[in-house]
Amino acid sequence: MHETAHAAHQAPTSFIRKHVFSLDHKVIGKQYYGLALVAVMVGMFLSWLMRIHLGWTNFAIPGLHLLSANGAPGNVMTPEYYLQLMTMHATIMVFFVLTTAPFAAFGNYFLPIQVGAEDMPFPRFNMMSFWVTLTAFIVLIASFFVSDGPTLGGWTQYAPLSAVGSVGGPGEGMGVVLWATSIAIFCMGQLLGSLNFITTTLDMRTKGMSMWRLPISSWGWFITSIMGLTAFAVLMPACILLILDHVAGTSFFVPSNLVINDQLQPHAGGSTLLWQHLFWFFGHPEVYIAIVPGMGIVSHVLVANMRRPMLSHRTLIYSFGALAVLSYMVYGHHMFVSGMNPVSSIVFSFPTLIITIPSTIVVLIWLGSLYGARLRINSASLFALGFISMFIAGGVSGFFLAQPSIDIMVHATYFVVGHFHMVMGVAAMFGIFAGTYFWFPKMYGRMMNETLGKVHFWFSFVGTYCIFMPFHYLGLAGNVRRYQAFVVDYMQPLIPLHRFITIAALVTGAAQLIFVFNLFYSRFKGAPAPANPWEATSLEWSTPSSPPPFDNFGGKLPVVYHDPYQYGVEGSTGDYVMQDSPEQIHSVRDEA
């Protein structure tokens, strides 16, 4: 049996140890999921406020003055408050939903099980990573309640606005300090998490589990954790330098001779571009951190439902790796119009176009594998298909944005906003949903309601297309982003479309309540799940119970005999053979 004494820890007995300060990776995964669920509700609520204001600028939103008396006098949102809500919407969604749910939540829960381990090798660091992330969330939310509210500089917090202090506007004093502190704390949590993920994948695999026998979802988490390690380690010092500019009077990012509100700023000599370089060096790998776990989860879900492996398992994984490596070379495509040397634009544009190649290979492998497969249709596989659809629809605009000549026209318009919402926001959300519907039976021993799942899917799928597809048109028509109202003549005819989008957003948002209801109802009242409801082959379906016992495999670690996706073969229990089943595979069954 595999030596795991260094990872073993005692089964918890007290309530606090079982459910609060737990060392169990499964509990930590669920805690992350809960955090992401709360965060997505907050982020979505903020987007509703934004959308209502965009469609009906002078509308008095009932109760808004309770959130901020300065930001919404008489319940009408001020322009600055719109920017503050927008900044918080983006920060919460990117960090506390898209990085947390597909990677930290599902990864923590399932990576150790999929590699055949009892737990992660550093359970105390793992526990710390969740509580550190939760602290970061609380610090960020606290900025809503400081005197002039949260920061308004966008989740990108460009200098010098982010660095000059409260003279820059509401929320630019304490709001920025809280934002930067929160993000620096968040980076720490993610580094602790990445440490565990990498070490689990490399050192904790059970007997017979070679790297190539890992499921695609495990590869997704592994590659993401390597990206996270290097990217978050750069954002943290950047945030610390930003905090020093605020509280210590340094001038890392504030240039000389800056006059704001007729006041000459005391800082001098700083580089505003330096912030952008540091931020986007993190920022571009971050968007791949947001999407690669989803790619892994979706691939895993699809294979189980197609009943055959991907066209080429290895090429898919090599492509994930290529995405990760290239993601560090492309970050300047966010800075084409920043004033940096135009030659740099070519230097960044080239790898950006190159990175479309592994992305396309991944998509073509998915599509090629699906072609001719009799895909089992359930909520999980529907959301997996939706992921592919969103990734393609949102990703194609990236081909255009990669070229500086085109980007100059559409930078800072809704074209970009449509691109990243579809390719990263919605696609990753669909990946989270696919994972939830797929793994819920293992996590809770109950099935989620399929009818509600399908209703949730169709509302979400149609709804998000209705919201974000028109963004591309808006951008090409000249609609500038991060504007709280459209008073310029050429943007006024676009307002009816904004109103349509707002209504679509509110309906789609309301439909998410179906999912939340399904989640909580099924948790307690769902139909009891069989041990392996999807007839899947990977190790999480070999645990002796659902949910798995404390040490995942009941004291007896599995031995792996097969590659992860033995479908379409003559197994003793059906058309599949589980990874840890010692039965031999004698023939390949034809797929008609």
Partner: protein
């Protein structure tokens, strides 16, 4: 689209495992036997410390690039002479790495001999700890010397980076001191694992090398 295997698989008396890469064609590997050989896995502490050092390296790489950009991007950079005590501190830190290596080698023979007949190597660990604390104290003295010259955090970008780099390094070093305290405690209770000692030593040596790099960087640029 049919996925047809044109040639029926050879069903021989020996079992055939459909392995390979799990790809579409399910090709049989050359050996035809299932892979159940025990794989060697390094101790997680060893992998973990490399991972941590990679992250720490990236942090200091980011700060280095910030220094280079900030220095070359404006004309307000004022050079100053590094406090001489920094060079003494460097020697102290290098000495602590030597004492740590001596400790590490002696721990192996100590544990192998069943903790009898050989002097307890914990004294070498205490020496390393002492040198480490002396380094931190020396860094604090360097800060005092700089502030006596009127060079504070915000005085000039050069002094800003000096304080940021030395503080960041010192904080990580204090973490290393914590690790050494833990190792010493475990040695004294006979619960020290080799992997823990090796990982902690690797971290400490990295802090050493990092400091030498930082000293060179600060000496060249500040």
């Amino acid at each position: 689209m049919a996925t047809t295997v044109h040639e029926p698989p050879k069903l021989e008396s020996r079992p055939v495992n459909v392995g390979g890469s799990g790809n579409f064609r399910n090709m049989v590997p050359a050996g035809g036997l299932p892979r159940t050989k025990q794989q060697y896995a390094p101790p997680p502490a060893s992998t973990g410390i490399w991972v941590a050092l990679a992250a720490i390296g990236m942090t200091f790489a980011a700060l280095t690039s910030a220094l280079v950009v900030r220095k070359d991007g404006s004309n307000d950079w004022r050079h100053f002479t590094l406090p001489a005590i920094l060079y003494l501190n460097t020697l102290i830190l290098l000495a602590s790495s030597v004492t740590l290596e001596v400790a590490r080698k002696r721990v192996s023979s100590f544990m192998a001999a069943g903790r009898v007949g050989i002097a307890n190597p914990a004294r070498w660990l205490y020496l390393t700890l002492g040198l480490g604390f002396a380094f931190v104290a020396g860094q604090y003295l360097a800060w005092r010397q700089l502030s006596a010259q009127g060079l504070y955090l915000a005085t000039n970008p050069s002094s800003s980076f000096f304080y940021v780099f030395t503080a960041a390094h010192a904080l990580h070093l204090i973490g290393g001191l914590g690790g050494l305290v833990r190792v010493t405690a475990k040695l004294n209770t006979a619960s020290l694992r080799r992997a823990t000692l090796d990982a902690t030593s690797r971290y400490w040596h990295f802090m050493d090398v990092l400091w030498v790099y930082l000293l060179l960087l600060l000496w060249m640029k500040l």
